[in-house]
Amino acid sequence: MTFAYFNRRLHLYLGLALLPWFFMYAISSVPFAHNQFFEQRDAAKGLPLWTLRSEHTVDLPVPEDPAALRRFGAALLERAGIEGTSFGAYRQGPGQVNVYAYSFWSSTQLKYVVEQKKLTVEDRRFRWDHFLTGMHARGGFEQDGVLQTSWSIVVDVVCAGMIVWIASGLYMWWALRGHRKWGGLAILGGVASFVVFTMRL
């Protein structure tokens, strides 16, 4: 087996295996890039985004240490009867903590207003653009659970795959002597435009 043969097969099979992610990142970039269009389209429906699920009286001290906020968020989720979910906990000002619990298909927000000792639980209406952007933005190793960690590992593999496609693609292009001139111009044009954007944006 020559290196050229291995390179071609690596480019192909890696591409086929990671194709669902590559396609997902492509189409989910549309609602990110044209956010206003999707927001206006949804606003025209006149439907509320969040619906109240429940309200609870909770009296828990909010930790000062930001590192402990995640544990506090987990405690609020437990009070609301939500278990085994990915979530993030954030301070929404000095008197409020918000917790966002999410899966690909649903999203729930918890608002704890310290002074009122009130915990409000709301569910977000399903929207396809949110489903796509949620999938696009999913990553990181902060969540507990094998599946969550596995997804983040695959995200790393997809990134590494993109870098391999670029390197193996360049190798394949260079082997095609008849395409060197136009290919070289395409690379130069791309790199030059990219540098201008980087310096001037």
């Binding site: 192909l12 086929l16 590559f22 492509a26 189409i27 990110f32 990181g140 944006l201």
Partner: protein, 187 residues
Amino acid sequence: MYLALFLSPWILMYAVSTLAMNHRAAFNARYGPGPVAFDTERELVYAGFFPENAEPRAISQQILASVGLDGAHGVTRRKDGAIVINRNDLLTPRRLTYFPADRRLLIEKMPHRPNAFLERFHRRRGYATGYRLDTAWAASVDLVIVAMAFWVASGLWMWWEMTATRRFGLSALLGGAGLFALFLLLL
């Protein structure tokens, strides 16, 4: 092929920046969590004048042009009347605060951090800024999206044309699709 060669810097940037975001905790451990604090760059008395009841947007554009920092930005008027301009420069984001009472202009810049720079690059998009270069960038992002969808379709077609690779290719495709479906159902 030529489109891929042209867009390779964009794909490389999106890959590297995604890696940085996926491992944000490592950068937080090194630099500390939360937003990056601004450093004072310079402070001056702004000599320009504004029309009476000028909108914050008009004020920000005039100030930015005066100090040679014109470009995409956001602007707000604080309760104390100060105008706060966030200049979304990719390499060096700046915050300009204009205090009308004493016509003081404070210019602050964000210290360089590689992960913050990559995230800014990754998130830069949209046609709303009104600046031509930003519009060109937004168009290039749309081009990347179309190209990625096209590569998926053309890649499938090229693979199917190579009969010798159909069996292994189908295994790779089904393996990937199966794993993706599993995540879709369970995550």
